[in-house]
Structure formats: C-alpha cells, structure tokens
Amino acid sequence: MSTTTMNIAHDEHRDDQASKLGMWLFLFTELLLFGGLFLVYSIYRNLNIEAFRAGSAHLDIFIGAVNTVVLITSSATVAISITAIQNKHYRLAKNLLWFTILAAVVFMINKYFEWGHKFEVGLYPGGDEFNALPGGERLYFVLYYFMTGLHGLHVIIGAIFIGVVIAKINKGKQTYNNFALHENAGLYWHLVDLIWIFLFPLMYLIV
C-alpha cells in the first residue's frame, strides 16, 4: 500500500480528531438505527422464508445491481476526492464530489422507478394487491419499503452534506490541511454505501 504523509494545520481551537471521533460515534447510532430494522428482518425472514422468497421475486435484480454499482462507485469517488484535496488538487476534488451527488441522483431515480412500478400494480401498504398477499409476504414488503425508504432518506441527506462540502472548498474553508468536514461527509456517505451493501443481498438476492 503506497502512502505519503502530510502535516495537518495546528489550530489551538480546532481538534480534528475530536471531530472525527464525534462523526464515528454518530455513525454507530445510525448503524444501530438500521440495525433495529435488520433485527426485525432477520426474525421475520427466519419465520417466513418462502414468503420472503416470493416477495423478493417481485424485485428487479438488475436495477438493484446497477444501484449497488452506482453506490460503490460513488464511494470510490468520495474517497478519491479526499486524496485529491490533500494533494491540493482542488478542481479534481470538487468534480469527484459533484459526481458523487450525481450518483445519488441516479440512485434515487432508479428507486423512484422501482417504487413507482410497484405502486402501479397495487403493491404498497393499503393497496389491493398488497392486501391480497399472505402475511409473510406482506411483512417482506413492509420491511422493503421501510428499509429502502429510510436508506433513501439518508442518501438525500448525504448528498446535501456533500454539497455543503463543495461550497466550503469553493470558499477556501476546506483545504489540503483543513479538511475534517470533507472527511466526515465522506464517512457519512460510506455509511450509506455500507447499509446498501447489506440491503442488496438481503432484499434482492433471495433466490
């Protein structure tokens, strides 16, 4: 692994390590928040494996895979943008962050089509097709909407966070030796990616 080292500007009132620790602790709370849903999922899947399989068959694995690739790539661009800012490649850093936001938009558009299609055929809580499903399959769809919905909300929040970082780089408030906010936005975005890394196989790949 090739690396170089750089010095961080030392400001009496700034503690970047505290800022990073604070962000990690916040990520732990997010992991537990989604964790509650994963817990419910694991129990109900265990009790209704066939129903979950039937439910999963309604999902399009291709779109799911595309979204997975989109998020993984956006994670890479965020990570590279941090390398860029530390190397004072500010234009590259910003472009990569814009790409990440674009990826978020693409992800949400795909989500819109996925959900939209299901709404059209009545497969939503309260819809006719949904109400006709057996219990276990209904539980699958409730969890599907809840988990991908909550995840989608975090995609949006993450994208906004990244937008804020771009603005700060533009104003010179985030630089090669003062980039804690940038790093923290990256951490948040990686969390969004991490959750999807588990959601994808659990929701789409029950074969």
């Binding site: 620790l21 709370t29 964790g35 209904r138």
Partner: protein
C-alpha cells in the same frame, strides 16, 4: 493562600456574551448555563410528574372510583411514567450535573461540541412540549402505559403517535448528549489526567454515554414502527397479518432495560464522589468501581428479557435472561461494598449531601434485592404486573437515582450558585422524604406479594390498609419536597456566600471559584495525582 478570597474576574452568571435577558440563557453555549437550563426545565416537568403521582395516590386511597374514571386513570399513570422516565430520570443527572460539573472535573473549559450541547437542550424542550401537549387535545394522553405495548398502542384512539414522537425526539437529545460527553472525555482531559485519574462521576457518565449511544437508536426505530402501524396498519406486530406482538416487546426492552442503567450509573457516580468527601478518605477500590460501571453498561444490554418472562417467550430464552440478570447484579453489589469500605475508619460528616447518599445506599439496596426477586424466573411468574414490581422500581429509580439527584444538588449547589442553604432545614427535609418514601413504597412490596395488580384503578378490600399508608406516605414525602424546594429558593436569593470548598473535597471543582468563571479555570491545571488523595494535614 486564603481560599475565601474571591477573584476579581466575572463568574459565569455575569458573563452574558453580549446578550440580554432570556437570550443570554437560551442562546448560550456555556455548559454551565445549559446545565441550569436543563435543571429548571427538568424540575418543572418533575413537578408535573409528581402531581400526576399524587393524583394516582388520591384515587387509590380507597377502593372504587374516587376522583377519576378508569380510562382517565390509565392516562394518568401513562403520562406519569412518560414524564418521570423520559423527562426526569433519564436526562436528569447527566444533563444537569454532567453538563455543569463534568468538564470542570476533568479540567476542561467546556464540552467537545458546545453548540450540539445547546441543540440537545432544544430537542429536550421540544420533546417535552410534544409529550405534554397530549394532555390538551384529541382523545387525551396515551392510555397504554409508558411501555406502549402492541396491539393496544396500535388500536387505541388516544394520542399515542404524539407521545411516541415526543419520546423519539427526547431520544435524539439523549444520544447527542452521550456523544458529546464521550468525545469530551476522550479528548479534553487536562494534562496528566490519565483515564485512571479521572473522577468516578466522570467514569459513571462515560459508561452511561455508551448506553445512550447504542441503545437509544433501537427505541427510536421501534417507535417509528408503531407510528407506521398506526397509520398504515401493515401488520408488523399483528399476528393475523403475520407479525408478532412479542417482537415489539423485545425491541422496546432492548432499549428500555439499558435505559435503567442510564438512570442509575450517573447516580452511582455521584455517590462515589460524595462518600469520599464526607468520609475524608480515598475511595476504596477505584478501579473496581470503574470496571463495574463498564460491566454494568455492557452486560446490561443482554438482560432485557426479564421484563418478558410471562409474555410467551421460549423456555430457554427465559432461563438465559434470568441467569444474565443475576450476573449484572454483581457489579452493583461491588460498588455498595466499596462505598461502605470507604466509610469504614473515615471521619464521617453527616451533611445533607451525605444523608441523601446514605439514603441512596439503603434504598438502592432494597431496590436491588427486590430486583433479584423479580429477576428470578420462578418468583417473577407470580410477581409480574403486581405492585411488587412498582415498589421495586420506585426503590431503585426514586430511592436510587432520585435521592442521588438531590444529593448532587446539596453537594454542588454552593459551587454553582456561590451561596449556601440552611443545613438544619435540609436535614429536616431529608427525614420527611426518607420516612415518607418508605411509607409510600414499602407497602407496595407487600400488597404485590398478596396479589394486587398494577395499572388497575380499583382493588380488592383486603388491600385497603396498605394503600392508605401508601397515600399518607405520599403526603409526608410531598412535605419533604416542599421543605427542600423552599430552602433552595431562599438560598439562591439570600443565602450566605459560600466558600470555595465547603466540604473539603479534593476533586478539581473545589479549586475553582464559586460560581465558576466562564472558562472554569484561570490556567489549565496539570494533574499529578488521583482524585481522592486525602491527607492527614491540609497542604
């Protein structure tokens, strides 16, 4: 150096940050002002909770309806629980004394994220308003009990969604406070203050913060599920739609059991500060107390099923949860032993703070032992949902955390306000509270064993006499509370000026001014010894 000479620079009350009136309070990011904001709001809501409790005791003075109908009674005990738990006991000691004192105890000038700290208070107030608003509109406050069990919480027309939303917001406040305290202790200890030279109150807050951080999100997501159920009726907890109401109970108690350690660990931290000071001896077994706090925090995550022994859980699960529950009792016992060992051979000074600390030990002991009775699977089957449980948890939460909160108030009041209260009246108040408390709650243990169910607004005639005693106890307790409140208000207005170190303590707060200056210390202290090094001669 004469410790009674006050410095010339401003104390934190006088530093206004250029703001006037209420704005110098509600826009301040000073941890001491924020702690006081919490204190005034928490105390106000506590009085609402007390009023609800007194109304319940009035209703239960005699069998049959007295002053309210059954459904009203259900809402009263629900709101009493929600207010006392989410607005008083959980935030209480960390938000008030953790905020005001912890940075000073570790030699810091504030917490790691002061603006997030203020946000925590805003969230607290918003959550409190949401919770109390359920009193005034629609079908009234939730009548489900503070536990909001499905399916009733999904079906009832009362303001469950609002209550649950309030709890969600309050949970967020709690999480942010925990996060702030963790980073503060990791990053801002004074030079020379290694982890094992940190005062035990700070350690208590550290262990607590880990519970706030990891357990609270689970209740957050669970409450969102209840709201989803109420609005979409999707069947997450409805067996006829494929769900399981017991899963709700698991999710609820996965947070709510660790929550009781959020309530008690800071309280134990306070006791660990007070006992050495009023015994003028180093704490016995500092490291044992540290590790027992961490042990409680982490093993405490594994015992929640003891609230569910009669719910329909599997046999093996019930046995495992019971065993783990006995395991988690051990570190608490270690602490009690260490406190008593600290006092042995010490120079005991029965000031009010010490009286309440000793009261804590006695009452928490009863609470803890009755906890073992309900933690044992075989006995719990008979005692679940009886008044025995109500007695048990009031002993630990009120006799424990409540008394520790008061002890902390008597201990640190002179430091915070620079004024001293009337010691004699404080002691008189203590005895009213202690006697009133035991008259109120001990009979509950008895009628519980005799079979009186909880959350019922009526009861059989054979339970009458203990209920009378209990209600009279509540009035005696109320007198004690009033004596205490009047004493503090008078002290704040006209109390004699307090010296820097009225109790001859050794931790850092006693070396700063009373009240402290804005940034606490003139010069960042360098630490060379542990927090409880009492010597024979004063240096």
């Amino acid at each position: 150096m004469d410790e009674n000479v006050t410095k010339h620079h401003l104390n934190f009350f006088e530093e206004t940050g250029g703001r006037k009136g209420i704005f110098k309070w509600i826009f301040s990011t000073d941890h001491k002002r924020i702690g006081l904001l919490y204190f005034y709001s928490i105390a106000s809501f506590f009085m609402v909770g007390v009023t609800l409790g007194l109304l319940m005791r009035l209703e239960l003075l005699n069998p049959g309806g007295q002053i309210m109908e059954a459904k009203t009674y259900n809402s009263v005990f629900t709101l009493h629980g929600v207010i006392m738990i989410f607005l008083f006991i959980i935030p209480g000691i960390p938000a008030v004394f953790g905020n005001i004192m912890m940075p000073i105890l570790i030699g810091a000038k504030d917490v790691a994220f002061p603006r997030v700290n203020l946000l925590s208070w805003y969230l607290y107030v918003i959550g409190a308003i949401f919770a109390l608003s359920t009193l005034v509109f629609g079908d009234g406050p939730a009548d489900t009990g503070w536990t909001f069990y499905a399916p009733y919480s999904v079906n009832t027309n009362t303001n469950v969604s609002m209550s649950v939303l309030a709890a969600f917001i309050l949970g967020f406040s709690s999480i942010l406070t925990g996060l702030n305290f963790l980073v503060t202790m990791h990053r801002m200890r004074a030079p020379g203050m290694t982890w094992f030279k940190m005062p035990l109150f700070a350690w208590g807050l550290y262990a607590t913060a880990w519970i706030q951080l990891l357990a609270t999100p689970i209740i957050g997501i669970t409450l969102l599920m209840i709201v989803a159920e109420r609005f979409l009726g999707v069947g997450l907890f409805d067996p006829s739609l494929g769900g399981d109401p017991i899963l709700y109970q698991h999710l609820f108690w996965i947070y709510s059991h660790p929550a009781v350690y959020v309530m008690v660990l800071p309280a134990m931290g306070v006791i660990s500060e007070i006992i050495p000071t009023f015994s003028q001896r180093k704490i016995f077994g500092y490291k044992a107390i540290v590790f027992s706090s961490l042990f409680i925090a982490f093993v405490g995550y594994t015992v929640w099923g003891h609230h569910m022994f009669t719910s329909g859980m599997s046999g093996p699960a019930r046995v495992i949860f019971s065993i783990l529950t006995f395991l988690v009792a051990i570190p608490s016992a270690i602490k009690v032993f260490n406190w008593l060992a600290t006092m042995y051979g010490g120079s005991i000074d029965l000031k009010p703070a010490m009286l309440y600390a000793l009261g804590f030990i006695f009452l928490f002991l009863i609470g803890g032992l009755t906890g073992l009775v309900v933690g044992a699977l075989a006995t719990d089957v008979h005692l679940h949902d009886t008044y025995f449980v109500v007695g048990h948890f009031h002993y630990v939460m009120f006799g424990g955390t409540g008394f520790a909160f008061i002890a902390a108030l008597y201990y640190w009041f002179p430091k915070i306000y620079g004024k001293m209260y009337n010691i004699k009246w404080a002691n008189i108040g203590f005895w009213f509270m202690f006697i009133g408390f035991n008259l109120l709650y001990f009979p509950m243990l008895i009628v519980g064993i005799m079979g009186m169910p909880r959350r019922y607004f009526d009861y059989l005639p054979r339970f009458h006499l203990p209920n009378i005693i209990s209600t009279v106890g509540s009035w005696i307790l109320l007198i004690g509370l009033i004596i205490m409140i009047v004493n503090f208000i008078k002290a704040k207005k006209h109390g004699a000026p307090a010296v820097k170190n009225p109790w001859k303590g050794r931790t850092l707060e006693w070396s700063v001014d009373s009240p402290p200056s804005l940034e606490n210390f003139d010069k960042v202290p360098t630490i060379t010894e542990g927090p409880y090094e009492y010597h024979k001669e004063e240096d």
